[in-house]
């Protein structure tokens, strides 16, 4: 189930072009919220007068308190439990999973997770490589393609756009097997791409969502700027590199968040094309490696590995809460 500024699919496809960046939008929204609060306009279902009445305030405050406790139990406790288990000797976790350090803390789980048998740091590095390459391919395809279709606008551009948009609503499952065969026998390159990062990087570029997002952003840029640059003698390459790209930081940010989160979370496709062969540590990302070693790894070090794989995104999330929460919505709703 598998996140991004709150952009709904309809908004992307049908909605009004937005001229403002996600960040300035969030800023103006916050300012508006503050102004509304000062003017007493920041209200929900319950009005200020209703909130003052005890028979409304008491049950409502109780409901909110119960909700808070519930959210702590459901949202926070599983993560805290995992962190505790990472520092607990295996026999203790197996016998009394909910006891808190009955026989003290051990660091050996952590050191084993980084040791020769698990080598979690190698797989974490692979995850970064997978995400970085997928990000690069997606940015190149989306910006150059979006530039050609929205700014240069060749005659045949409409047909190309239509073909891109047509794939937007296609369930990924249709592509699974033919895409796998393509990776096994790539036409031009020759030789199998199996167990290479290219097998994940290249197909990730064929994201109609990215192209449509970038096209809609470029459409919203004032065309006078392009015309002025062309009058001043800027060719298409100059226009792309010096004018359009620097203006595209907001949309590149959106594509980046999508690309990185998807690459981080994806399991089915990398599991299929990165089986590992003789040296899984050289290609497999965490999402592929962690299920593979589940049956053969001692519980303590295994839970320590899961904890390390959890701690990293949780810290990123707490640091960049606003980006996640203003954008995380749709990634979370669409489970693949």
């Amino acid at each position: 189930m598998s996140a991004t500024p709150v952009i709904s699919p309809e908004e992307v496809v049908l909605g009004q072009p937005s001229r403002v960046s996600a960040r300035s939008l969030a800023r103006s929204r916050r300012q508006k919220a503050k102004a509304n609060k000062d003017a007493g306009l920041d209200r929900g279902i319950v009005s200020a007068t209703e909130w003052k009445r005890t028979q409304i305030r008491f049950p409502l405050a109780t409901a909110q308190l119960v909700l808070l406790i519930l959210l702590v139990i459901v949202g926070l406790l599983p993560i805290l439990w995992l962190m505790k288990a990472a520092l607990t000797p295996t026999p203790d976790t197996l016998a009394e999973p909910l006891a808190i350090f009955p026989h003290g803390i051990t660091w050996s789980n952590i050191s084993q997770a980084f040791g020769v048998n698990i080598k979690i740091q190698d797989y974490f590095l692979n995850t970064i490589w997978v995400a970085a390459g997928a990000w690069f391919v997606q940015i190149v395809v989306a910006t150059t393609g979006g530039f050609a279709l929205s700014v240069l606008r060749p005659k045949y551009g409409k047909i190309v756009s239509a073909f891109v948009i047509a794939t937007l609503f296609l369930p990924a499952i249709v592509l699974l097997i033919p895409l796998y065969l393509t990776i096994l026998h790539p036409l031009v390159i020759g030789g199998s791409l199996l167990n290479t990062f290219w097998a994940v990087w290249l197909p990730s570029g064929a994201s109609a969502f990215n192209v449509v997002l970038v096209m809609r952003f470029f459409d919203s840029l004032p065309r006078e700027i392009f015309e002025a640059a062309q009058t001043d003698g800027a060719g298409p390459f100059r226009l792309f590199w010096s004018i359009v790209l620097p203006m595209s930081r907001p949309v590149i940010g959106v594509v980046t968040v999508f690309a990185v989160i998807n690459a981080w979370k994806d399991f089915l496709w990398p599991n299929l094309v990165l089986p590992g062969g003789t040296d899984p540590a050289s290609v497999q990302p965490l999402s592929v490696r962690l299920p593979a070693i589940q049956g053969t790894t001692e519980v303590g070090p295994y839970l320590a590995s899961l904890a390390i794989a959890t701690l990293i995104p949780v810290i990123m999330f707490l640091l960049f809460q606003r980006t996640f929460l203003s954008g995380g919505g749709f990634g979370g709703a669409v489970k693949g």
Binding site: G44, L71, L170, I177, P178, P291, A309, V314, G332
Partner: protein, 297 residues
């Protein structure tokens, strides 16, 4: 030359990455999937299916297919009953929080941040441990409830999968509803109060109608998502016990890569994925046609 001078070459150069990547990894495979569905192929030998619908007939006659459809429907239904109302109710209560609102959202979103594979493995090996010392069974024992088999029996496996999937996904949907709730114009509540509406009436006559559009979208997204559920059944149970969690996606995967006769039936796998895609396309089209009049206020 005039074509080059008018920028024809530059246009093409900028389109080149898109055309290559989409051609090889999207448009090409789409066409190919229609061809493969009409062929018998196992990575090595390829022959045309005779009659041409042989792969489709094979899937429809396979007793596991009916089972997979039923299991996928069961997963979707349970996920809807459990996963659809919960985020909505939580978001409405959260939107009325006056202090530490951010804390509520952060807590609700935490499960979404965890790598989905890690969530499933953690639940599988520890939380759903069917022994008396499993995490959930230990908690149940505090309330004198006997240990549950969780993913170990056919009857309890699917609900267990749905509980984990809902836990993992609810945070994302809550954030969508929270954003929609802040966009409800406050004047509407003021006006409702002038007409003497209480809290429940405001909720029913103002809030819910204002959320209708987004609720319709989250509904279809959830249906499309659950129809393609793969991660949970694949990692939790591998389709068992006794095929009780074999979903359509899992069956496609088994046809293609885990065939019982050691071979691999790519034609049938592709035929089934085309049927699933066609069903989802028709379902979404009908859904949007039927609900179009509802989403307008």
């Amino acid at each position: 030359m005039t074509w080059v001078r008018r920028g024809g070459l530059a246009n093409l150069l900028f389109l080149l990455p898109l055309l290559c990547i989409f051609g090889v990894f999207s448009w090409g495979p789409i066409v190919e999937s229609f061809i493969i569905s009409l062929q018998h192929t196992n990575f090595i030998v390829t022959t045309w299916a005779d009659p041409f619908w042989a792969n489709f007939a094979f899937v429809l006659k396979d007793p596991t297919f009916g089972l997979a459809v039923r299991n996928t429907g069961y997963f979707a239904l349970l996920a809807l009953i459990l996963g659809y109302p919960v985020p909505l109710v939580l978001a409405v209560v959260m939107s009325e929080v006056k202090r530490f609102k951010g804390l509520f959202s952060v807590l609700a979103y935490l499960p979404v941040v965890i790598l989905p594979v890690v969530s499933v493995l953690l639940w599988k090996t520890e939380f759903y441990d069917a022994g008396a010392s499993g995490v959930f069974n230990t908690i149940l024992s505090w309330f004198h409830i006997p240990p549950q088999p969780w993913i170990q029996t056919a009857a309890t496996a699917m609900p267990s999968l749905v509980i984990e999937a809902t836990w993992a996904a609810a945070g994302g949907t809550i954030i969508i509803y929270l954003a929609a709730l802040t966009n409800v114009p406050p004047e509407l509540y003021d006006a409702a109060e002038v007409d003497g509406a209480g809290i429940w009436q405001k909720l029913w006559h103002v809030t819910l109608p204002q959320l209708r559009g987004i609720m319709l979208v989250t509904f279809i997204l959830q249906i499309i998502g659950t129809a393609q559920v793969f991660l949970e059944p694949y990692l939790f149970t591998g389709g068992g016990p006794v095929q009780s969690t074999t979903t359509i996606m899992l069956l496609i995967f088994q046809y293609a890569f885990q065939s019982s006769d050691g071979g691999s039936n790519l034609g049938s796998a592709t035929a089934l994925s085309l049927m699933l895609a066609a069903f989802l396309a028709v379902f979404s089209a009908v859904y949007f046609r039927v609900t179009r009049s509802w989403s307008q206020n």
